[in-house]
Amino acid sequence: MPEDKDWEAYKVPPTRTPVSERITSVPNPITFFQTVFNYVVDTPVTFVREWIERQQAKNKSYYYHQKFRRVPDLSECLEDDYLCFFEAEAQWRRDRLVDTEIVEIVRERLGACKQREGPNEFQNCAKERELLAQVTKAYQDRYGDLGVHGNARTCLMKQKHRMMEERKAQAEAS
């Protein structure tokens, strides 16, 4: 899953623990455990990992995220133009995957916010909550009840029905 590039959303506010003065002359036992861990576990593991990375650096290769060209939509296809239908369908499926990932990322941000704030989440996470509500509502409106056999055509029909309902509501309101 592609990672969220926006690190600003996950920033933890700076801690406010006070600096304490040493009162006793007994050395901190944690430093002993830290040095033991360092020698027994940390150094061998980093040594092996760096050796592996040196071997891998000899055959370096890169991979990219594929960028697809935009093709005419299903609503711009002529009747009986099956090739146009096929391309529009493929584009719609890619767009649905992208939208699913967007919803997942927004949900992850809310989870990160909850983790950060702890007991203050009900007050401080309002923006993330609202963003998630909006995004899920939009997703539900567009791709919601299409079912497992939903394709670009059924989605277009759903949009048409939505627009008809909107127009009816407007006509009734005025």
Partner: protein, 147 residues
């Protein structure tokens, strides 16, 4: 049945159900699984350590990546490069199939239309039936009216 005494108890002949078939099955299973499993595991470990996965990078300006450069693991890249067709080629193959089927559908509809119209209007090359020659018809019984 056990005689609980340390070192020198009575020697017992313990009667239990045979485990010969079970152990034979498990040994054979282990043998055949590891026969190809261990070389495959070693190969995959070698690939992961010495060749390593690809790193994610932005597509450089003016560069069009090959279709196998969209995968991370080196074995997936190798399979995409040497064993599979490019996804663009697959896409075009599917579209060619759809095009042929669409043309077939159009031609079939046209044929049905032509058949219907020619049968109805009778002015086309189809729906001509062999009728007997008019010179063979014997008009003698119709030539006198009061017969």
């Amino acid at each position: 049945p056990v005689r609980h005494s340390s070192d020198h108890g009575k020697r017992m002949f313990i009667i239990k159900a045979t485990s010969f078939y079970d152990t034979r099955f498990l040994n054979l299973l282990r043998f055949y699984v590891f026969l190809t499993g261990i070389p495959v595991a070693l190969f995959i470990t070698y690939v992961n350590i010495f060749i390593g996965e690809a790193e994610l990078a932005e597509i450089p300006e003016g560069y069009v990546p090959e279709y196998w450069e969209y995968y991370k693991h080196p074995i997936s890249r190798w399979i995409a490069r040497y064993l599979l067709d490019a996804p663009e080629k697959d896409y075009e193959k599917e579209m060619a199939l759809l095009y042929v089927e669409a043309k077939k559908k159009e031609l079939r509809l046209l044929e049905l239309d032509a058949r219907r119209l020619m049968r109805h209007r009778g002015d086309g090359p189809w729906y001509h039936y062999e009728t007997p020659d008019k010179n063979l018809v014997d008009n003698s019984m119709k030539s006198t009216p009061d017969n």
